[in-house]
Symmetry: C2
Subunit: 343 residues, 2 copies
């Protein structure tokens, strides 16, 4: 192993939509192994909306902002190349907040949950462990299956339906017997979630009136809403909630990318409809990881849940992928291949 550690660092904070010139590639020093840690060589990093929050001045509320000159925080998967932790042996495939860099240190102490490395489930590839069986799968499974728990016949709406999390969340609701209506931003996305993933319908929010379409498609009101977007779209769905509706706030794509914070008009519907709105973070549900990965692996193997991952070569590609994430032309998950030898 060389002494260098190629990194993509935050050069300046974006004002408004993120641009590639907010980042710089540099060769940093390889981290020194310390007691209880393992040194991970990154194979892939995933390009997630959460990154936009982490590089904002305020951070994400549960993690501090990435500092200028620091590697960009990111989920990733790698292989342990040196270890001072028996739980993370050399050769193990491990997911962690690797950051946008070739080498990182991970541990196994849950008192520091954001440095914990998790060994990939048996039989899963590194890419699966990062995506469908990793953060995205866990988020969809925990949010939909463990918190919202849609019942047969209920009407479930999922925003950002063609995203990695949204597409899996909708399919999990379908498997629970619910009617599932997606909201997405292009005809191709809508076609994918309906034709390939089995959603009952999908609203194109760029060309259709979401409130009108929700009224048509959900005549009894929206009973469950898995929200990855927030802002004005959340406000529109609030106008259409059924009595007792459950809303999960999983993400806020609409404002993640630097938009002026939207101010919510229809929150009094929560009271008149006796509905609930719950903030969600996968970190609170990590005890479900074994159950979730086993169930997701079964669904994916049987074809009951379908997923899509687009892999782009090179750590240096990560900034442009983050820009693309918000420009909205991809289906499923975006991943950068950091190790050119990764399978």
């Amino acid at each position: 192993m060389g002494a260098t550690n190629r990194q993509v660092v935050l050069a300046r904070r974006p004002e408004g939509p993120v641009t590639a010139d907010c980042f710089e590639v540099r060769d940093g020093a390889a981290p020194e192994l310390t007691e209880g840690k393992a040194l991970l060589r990154t194979r892939y990093v995933s390009i997630d909306p959460a990154i936009r929050g982490w590089i904002s001045p305020r951070g994400s509320g549960y993690l501090p902002p990435v500092g200028i000159g620091e590697p960009v925080r990111s989920n990733g998967v790698g292989v342990v190349v040196e270890s001072a932790n028996p739980d993370l042996p050399v050769g193990a495939v491990v997911t962690a907040l690797t950051g946008w860099q070739e080498l990182s240190l991970v541990g196994s102490d849950w008192a520091e949950p954001f440095t914990v490395g998790t060994i990939a489930p048996d039989g899963a590839t590194a890419l699966d462990a990062l995506t469908t069986l990793g953060q995205s799968g866990m988020t969809a499974y925990a949010g939909m299956h463990a918190v919202l728990r849609p019942q047969p016949g209920e009407t479930v709406v999922v925003s950002s339906a063609a995203s990695s999390v949204g597409s899996m969340a909708g399919q999990i609701a379908r498997l629970a017997g619910a009617r599932v209506v997606g909201i997405a931003g292009t005809p191709a996305k809508c076609a994918w979630v309906v034709d390939e993933l089995g959603f009952d319908a999908c609203i194109d929010y760029r060309t259709e009136d979401v409130a009108d379409r929700l009224k048509e498609l959900c005549p009894g009101g929206v009973q469950v809403f898995f929200d990855n977007v927030g802002g004005e779209l959340l406000d529109t769905v609030l106008r259409r909630i059924a009595p007792g509706a459950r809303i999960l706030l999983c993400g806020s794509l609409s404002t993640d990318d630097g938009d002026e914070a939207y101010r919510l008009r229809n929150y009094p519907r929560l009271m008149s409809r006796r509905a609930s709105m719950v903030g969600f973070n996968t970190i609170d549900h990590w005890d479900l990881y074994p159950e979730a990965t086993a169930q997701l692996a079964r669904w994916i193997a049987s074809g009951e849940v379908r997923t899509r991952t687009e892999v782009v070569d090179g750590l240096d590609a990560a900034p442009e992928l983050l820009v693309r994430l918000f420009s909205g032309d991809h289906l499923g998950k975006l991943v950068a291949r950091v190790d050119p030898d990764a399978p």
Copy 2:
């Protein structure tokens, strides 16, 4: 019984704060007893914030608006004077949505929950059945004890702390071992809830900076919020919520009285703090009525919960009392005595 039925009807809808000239007194016809119903002679009606929603153009979301020329919808308590329902015998003291009128019909069919009359608990006066053991007590008990469930040592904030519901909700939290911080609108109200009711502190929102005071009084953040106000005050408390906070939306006094609808800025805190915000209506918890009334009666008898009710004579006084409710100079519950012979 005479053939007339004195009523206070809605003459015009308020635009902005409610004024007494929105109402008119008239002599209506006594309702005719029908199968399954009982005829109730009203003793008292309670003056509640919900009335403001019911006379607005949209109603309350769970009940349609009161029509022009119709008696104002209101909680009340009366005595059965004629009955075609064996569950509601002549002489029974019954709470119901009597409206602002001397005579009304009530039933016992829970398929029509808003016409159901509930017999007063054993040993309770008509006034108790309307107030501390009625809607207000049930709301405070169900919301705080059954939904929010504060734990010993948790920090609980109650808005409209000197109101009938707020004052009882805060005391129930105190009895659960929580630290209780009230928010109210005058020094007299703050003094009452701290000195008489045992709240740990109370913020006067008219003269103090609520955000600063919450920071001082709740250094670990607000863990539980029983909100009777909504709007800007809710937004301010959202800035100070602790991870995992539970917020109950029980009322929206701030906008009930015709203010422009406030637009909520800090709802993304629900996500970053993994907090929940739940709309609440007592009607969903009526199964707790026997438990709640028994427990509240014990607490009131022992002095562990203190209450205050101001009774003003005459149905005709109801409009002015509703105006006073929003002008903010009363402690506890406001009630109009409809039957001059009521004890």
